[in-house]
Each structure stands twice: as structure tokens, then as C-alpha cells.
Symmetry: C2
Subunit: 224 residues, 2 copies
DNA sequence: ACAAAATAAATAGGAGTCCTATTTATTAAA
DNA sequence: TTTAATAAATAGGACTCCTATTTATTTTGT
């Protein structure tokens, strides 16, 4: 039918390479943003991660896993942040081998500053239509799920893997989902990738939820 | 209607953060792949970039721009690759200030090896349906265009910006586009992000092509 | 033609990433 | 309890990545 099927690189490969291009920009963006706070991208990443989760203190290991780097690398970056007074390390009461890493007040200030920046990647994504953005979000979430299932990244706090999530339970196609925690309907464009209120659903429930989500997103009839 | 519109982070921001998660995996992937060849991700990136374009020799500046790093950083990495015998630097005949950087035969061998690896990101993308992958490709391309227009990345050799590209000229919805260079129809799933045969279209033609592409991808009638 | 401005790349200098391998504690298991 | 597994730190080394500056050329404006 067309010679392209045979000749071109596999679709998934091209997709990966395309995402890689976007990643390049994001790295460069991050230097710009982080630098204003006297940090580099890795430090900024560590700091915001701990700020987002570590009210009670994070372990070195989970920080390393989240960043996708070796544990000594995380130790390095945490050290740099401790030196700058943005993180503290205290003994973990539950395990004498471990440390609990927390953000200092100064650290929280920096995190706030980092959050204000709008990067060129974000601006580029804003040029897509709402519908496109929301489609893209769905596809990104599915990709993250696959990565999670493959063990390539630690579990994320996704709406779709939450016990309070109910996929496609409303007729309104604009906001077909429901969050049982706040007891409100919402739509694909509202799906979160890292919800603080997330509570992991049971495996069977999770499977079922994903199935509904998969079916719904692809080719749902346009009404009811 | 739903409290989520008011409460949640902007869609583009969540999208960026989601892509960021995928980037993290890709960085980690790249360590694994590159390391087998005795390289690190940056070196692998430089090497494949030069191999893909630099038959006649690349400038330090374009390599730096492609990687999104400062020029001295590119000098560093090029130096590491020259030391390893994978790149060579020769005086540029057109400009005595510049150098032409080329891949050595040993370098080409390494590039071949790098290309064989299948990363976990690629595998994750393969779990999406063909339709989803091809939708995602379209959205990635649009995002790259926006980044290009904002000057955040140098021009890519995209089908859609090529003078041989004809968007939506065929009735067959599976392969609606046409490449005038090879004179064959092809579909969204075949779109390239870095085609060696690419020739930049004139600005007005480009605008027109993008317009057709934009309209087509979003909500084209299902037949004819 | 010629000083001034712009450009190509290298250098200097320094903080910090990132790795593997190993060591030091502590906790869990056989 | 030995033995294993785990949490984190250390050691050591190659390189990334930055800003600022320097050294050559080219390009421009007069």
C-alpha cells in the first residue's frame, strides 16, 4: 500500500525519539528555572519531590528511585541541599540504619519560587487545544502506567490508581469521572499525576478501573 | 460544575510534569544503553546526532544547540569522544575559525550498536494501541513545532515542515498524506521527526501545510 | 580599506552529577 | 545465632555543565 510501512523506523521508536527532543528542552528549561534559586536541575527535582511528599521525612532510597539514579548519587545531591540549608537529615525513629530527610522552612520558600516559573515546554503545551491537551494527558498517563507495570518507575499517585477513582460513571461526557473522596465529578482534563490525597486501590479493583479507563478513552460513543 | 476546574494545577503544567516523569525514565534508560558502549548519555547523544547529519562535518555550535547545552559543554563532550577515537575534528575549509566534526569508522560501529537497544520507554509506548501511538505522534509533533517556533529548539527535519509534504490529499483515511519525494502516500503513523531527505519548505507554504495538518488531525470527518 | 562588532571555538576554574565498588551499621531470616 | 539482606555513607574517578574570558577570524559600517 505504501512503502513507508516497510522502510521507516518503528512508530514507538520515533515516538521515543520525539519525546526525547521534548526532554532536551525540559532539561534546558530546568537549568534556567533552578539557577535563579542557586540550584541545578537535579537539586530542584530532589527538593520539590521531598517537599511534595516528605512531611514525615523521606528515605534516601526512595529519592534515588524517583530520580532514576543510583543511591550514592542521591546522597550527593541531598548533601548539596543540606549544605545549602534547604534540607535536613534526622535519624529515622523506625529504623536506625535510615535517615529521614525533610525540607527546611528556607527550602519551602525555594520550592514556592520554583513552582512559579513557567517553562517553554509548558508554554508549548499550552498552544495545543484543550481537547488535544486532554487527549495527550490520557496517553501520558497510560504510558506512565506501562512504565510502572514494567518496574521502570516507582508507583505514581495517579487518579486512575486511586481507590477513590470511579471511571466513566457520569453521562456528562465533559466530566464523566468521579472522585469519591471529594465526592465530585470531573473530566479527563482534570486527571492528576501526583495527588496528595491518593490512596492506592486494591489490585483487582485497579485492574478493573484501568479496563474501564482504557475502553472509555479510546472510542466511547459520543453520547450516553 | 466541578470544583476541579478551580482547584487543580493547570492542565499544561500537569502535562509537563507527566512528560517529566517519562523523561526521567529515558535518562535512566540512556545510561544503560550508552554504558554498554563505554559512553554516557550525553556522549551517546552527541555521537548519534553527528552520525545522523554530519557526513560533511558538524560545527560545535550546532551540536551544543541540539543538545540544549552551553557551547563549552559541547566542547567537553566532543573532546571525550575524540579521545575515545569515535569523532575527529578537522579544520573547516569554509571558515578558519570553525572545525568540522565527523564520526570515525569506529564511531559508526558504536552508533549501530546504540541503535539496536530497545529501551523501557519504547516498550512502554508499544503497549499503546496503534491508533493511540499515532495520535500521540501527532501531538508530539505539534509540541515540537511550538518549541521550534518559540526558538526553544533548533529546526527539526519534520515531514510536516518539508517541501515534499502534502497533507491530507488522499481519500484513504489510513494513508491520507503524500510524500512528493518518493511519490507515495502515507499516514499519520509514518510521520518522521528527523528525515534525512528533509528540505525545508518556504515560509508561506509551511504555514499553509501546518494549517491543513492542524485541521485534519483534530476532527476530520470519518470518511472521504 | 579599516576599526568596530560579531562569531567560532577553546580555556580556565569550579561545583556537582553520576557511576561502581566497598564499607559500616542495623534489621530480618534461617 | 550465624547468615542474609537492607540503609546509607565513602572512596575514587570520569565527565557534565556552568560563567567568564581569551584567541582567532569573519563581517560590517563608514
Amino acid at each position: 500500500m505504501t512503502p513507508f510501512d516497510a522502510l521507516s523506523t518503528p512508530l514507538a521508536r520515533r515516538l521515543r525519539d520525539g519525546l526525547d527532543r521534548i526532554c532536551t528542552v525540559m532539561r534546558a528549561d530546568q537549568w534556567g528555572v533552578a539557577e535563579e534559586s542557586g540550584l541545578n536541575p537535579t537539586q530542584a527535582h530532589v527538593l520539590t519531590f521531598v517537599a511534595g511528599r516528605g512531611a514525615t521525612g523521606m528515605r534516601v532510597r526512595s529519592i534515588a528511585d524517583h530520580l532514576g539514579v543510583a543511591q550514592p548519587t542521591a546522597t550527593d545531591s541531598i548533601g548539596a541541599l543540606v549544605r545549602k540549608g534547604l534540607l535536613t537529615k534526622v535519624a529515622d525513629p523506625e529504623d536506625a540504619r535510615a535517615v529521614a530527610i525533610r525540607v527546611t522552612p528556607a527550602g519551602h520558600d525555594v520550592v514556592r519560587g520554583l513552582g512559579l516559573a513557567i517553562t517553554s515546554a509548558e508554554r508549548a503545551l499550552e498552544t495545543l487545544s484543550m481537547k488535544e491537551q486532554s487527549t495527550l494527558l490520557g496517553l501520558v498517563i497510560k504510558t506512565i502506567r506501562a512504565l510502572q507495570q514494567a518496574g521502570a518507575i516507582p508507583p505514581q499517585r495517579l487518579c486512575v490508581s486511586c481507590r477513590y477513582f470511579r471511571a466513566y460513571v457520569h453521562d456528562d461526557e465533559d466530566i464523566p469521572h468521579h472522585c469519591a473522596l471529594v465526592d465530585a465529578p470531573f473530566g479527563g482534563r482534570h486527571l492528576r499525576l501526583d495527588c496528595p490525597e491518593h490512596e492506592q486501590a486494591e489490585p483487582e479493583a485497579l485492574d478493573a478501573a484501568w479496563k474501564v479507563f482504557d475502553r472509555g478513552a479510546d472510542d466511547l460513543p459520543m453520547s450516553t
